[in-house]
Amino acid sequence: MAAEVAKLDPMHQFTIAPLGGSADWTLAGFNIAFTNSALWMAFAALALIVFVAGGMKRELVPGRWQMAVEFFTGFIDNMLQANIGNNGRKYMPYVFSLFMFILFANMLGLLPLGVIGLHPFTFTSHFTVTGVLALITISIVLVVGFWKHGLHFFSLFVPSGTPVPMIPVIFVIEIFSFILRPFSLALRLFVAMMAGHVLLEVLSSFVIDGTNAGPLWAGVVGLPSYLLMIGICALEILVSGIQAYVFALLTVFYINDAENLH
């Protein structure tokens, strides 16, 4: 019974485990074990490469696959165009990679591979991962901002029309909110993905435990939980897309701040 309880620990799914004896790999003194997390990063990268490569036929009249790929590139392109303007296209490779990588990671993490004994790992539910992505975004913002505007970039923290006596206060607040950006960016995605997976796991434990407790509890707890899980699964697919979209959109907003100031 104790083993079963451990299996139903909703946090167990986030455990990182080295694969194939790579636990001791190091690089410059840092451990770089190839973990289940890294494996799913590889899957996401591979799936993304296969997906986009499938849309590379470059036909004048696109097929379905090409249409799908062009839908995503057009989606990101529109986002950049609408928020940054004509200068936005040079960020296409980064924002597209970011959006698609997060989207594929989220979606792959939802695959019901448990039924064949495999365990999908949602690496976007780890703030080490989302944090690195957020830091890359903020680094781009800082580099672009100071490269294009020099010290004038600091005017970003003083919105135009601020009364002079308010400038010191506003400046501090704006700096503070700017510093918080990578945290909010990273935590939003990590929390959303983790919460969804915990919820699914908790509900599935209701289904299993309720069903094990006899027909009555199976009917009262198990079945409603199961129906709810179906709905939550659909919701999670939606959240996967929305969180990838939000991450990309906020990245575009922040880059826009650096590119165009206010």
Partner: protein, 164 residues
């Protein structure tokens, strides 16, 4: 919470592999494939807008041709109308001149006939006078036994006739 519990032992591998795989995605997908996909889309958009422009130009040309045709048609119609009017006028003038000529001929014939009649009347009158003068001579000779010259008889007859 494994994210925090395992942080110390896994952060380096997480960051390392994320950079590796996100880097692969960025280089191969973002830098390598996406620009090609975008250029395909751009090419298609260009082609479509080019085709649309060509279609618009063709339509404009057709409109222009139609306008030209209409103008030519109107000109033709106008010139045809002018020809008809001219022909009508010419025909009217023709018939008028023909009528005038016929009238003239008729007038001439009439005048001739009148002259003929006049001449006939004059000669008839002269004959009547002659006959009357001879008759008067005869009458005078028989009744009065006088011999009257023809000239005298003639003038007497003339006088009597003009008095009558």
């Amino acid at each position: 919470m494994p994210q925090i519990a395992q942080l110390a032992q896994t952060y380096s591998s997480q960051i390392f592999w994320l950079l590796v795989f996100f880097g692969i995605v960025f280089v191969f997908v973002g830098r390598g494939m996406v620009p090609k996909v975008m250029s395909t889309v751009d090419l298609r958009d260009q082609r479509i807008s080019g085709d649309l422009a060509a279609a618009t130009a063709a339509r404009e040309k057709a409109d222009e041709e139609e306008e030209n045709w209409r103008r030519r048609e109107n000109e033709n119609r106008a010139s045809a109308h002018a020809i008809v009017v001219e022909a009508k006028a010419k025909a009217a003038a023709d018939s008028e001149s023909k009528l005038a000529a016929a009238q003239k001929r008729l007038d001439a014939k009439l005048a001739e006939a009148e002259a003929d009649i006049d001449a006939a009347r004059v000669s008839a009158l002269a004959e009547v006078e002659g006959v009357a003068a001879e008759a008067a001579q005869d009458i005078v000779q028989r009744i009065a036994g006088l011999k009257v010259t023809a000239a005298k008889a003639n003038s007497a007859v003339k006088k009597a006739m003009s008095d009558a």
